[in-house]
Subunit: 197 residues, 2 copies
DNA sequence: GTCTATACGGAGATAGAC
DNA sequence: GTCTATCTCCGTATAGAC
């Protein structure tokens, strides 16, 4: 396989994903027609179906792409230098989202779709599992430096706290996407006040 | 207006809403056709359009109905007897959801739709405002009994904590709706560990 | 690989009888 | 108010040329 061709192929797929992401964010996944993605991408229907079997597969690819970068960021941060605190981990989690996605709309749509679509549900399950792992690691590392806060050991402390950190991250994304008057700083300040330091 | 007729009308509207709720929970709002609601309700298309102008209005009515149930539960609890603690408030908020999966799924779908549909967005804004008010009240009441935890007064303490309690509630609903292996008890235990007591 | 053009099915909404 | 029947549009996905 010639690498030029392969690189071009991936570039084209990326072009399609990017156009789809913009379209989904603007109109929502269901309301977005292939014609919309055609317009947004400057390509044709044929070109799109040449790369993705159907609309659902395209959405899954977009979602997968967006989500996969969270893992890397957190893993990187928790393995270099001083372990980040739970609050800092939350900031990493939400900050990355904010950078990648203009807003979290598409993620909220993904969550919604995955309540009724088994294929998307599988994508979400897998990524959540992975985030849990990375997040758990990061928390464990931090609790290891603070034995005073982990009487039953860093493992137990991390396991206990995990759902809260995940939940606060998800809720941040949702509220930012949903509420006209959402105040990120107030939200994070509230989180900082309750998370262990 | 004869009241029998009015009561019958409301009963019929309720029958339609209930059928729509079941359908939406099973297939998702967008994937649910009017034909599905017809089947589920045992009525006809004509009957449904006699009560709701279009599919969107029906969804708004279903969502409004689901949301108002939450509001009532919290308001009732916070006005009777000892002020519930933040953790107890969270349990109240999520308790209704834990009983029935349908409500949770439809709520997640509502959040998703409201990222792209102005009419639904307005519904969400309004109800969130109301929940904020009720929740804020409840938190203020509790902090008033615990001045040791509210150095700047119960108002400030309640304001600070509010986003976290709301967020944890929303995230509970979402995780319950979409994670196969969601553990409500572990989630609430984690919340209890971080919330002030 | 990509384009243009289109087949095909399905969904929302209405008309008109009862 | 409700039913049956149907109209009309729109969206997905494909066929075939280049």
């Amino acid at each position: 396989m010639p690498r030029i061709t392969e690189a071009r192929r991936e570039a084209r797929r990326d072009q399609i994903r990017a156009a789809a992401l913009r379209s989904f964010a603007a109109k929502g996944y269901q309301r977005t027609s292939i014609a919309d993605v055609v317009t947004e991408s400057g390509l044709s229907a044929g070109a799109i179906y040449g790369h993705y079997a159907d609309k659902g597969e395209l959405f899954a690819a977009v979602a997968q792409h967006v989500l996969s970068r969270r893992d890397d960021e957190i893993a990187a941060a928790s393995h270099e230098g001083v372990p980040p605190s739970p609050y800092e981990i939350l900031v990493l989690l939400t900050g990355g989202m904010a950078r990648d996605l203009a807003d979290g709309r598409v993620l909220v749509q993904l969550w919604s779709e995955s309540t009724v679509d088994p294929a998307l549900r599988a994508v979400v399950q897998r990524v959540v599992g992975s985030v849990r792992g990375v997040l758990g690691d990061a928390l464990r590392n931090w609790f290891a430096t603070r034995p005073d806060l982990a009487p039953d050991g860093p493992d137990a402390a991390a396991q206990l706290l995990l759902p809260v950190v995940m939940g606060l991250g998800q809720a941040f994304i949702m509220q930012r996407a949903l509420l006209e008057d959402f105040d990120p700083d107030a939200y994070l300040a509230a989180a900082e006040a309750v998370l262990p330091r």
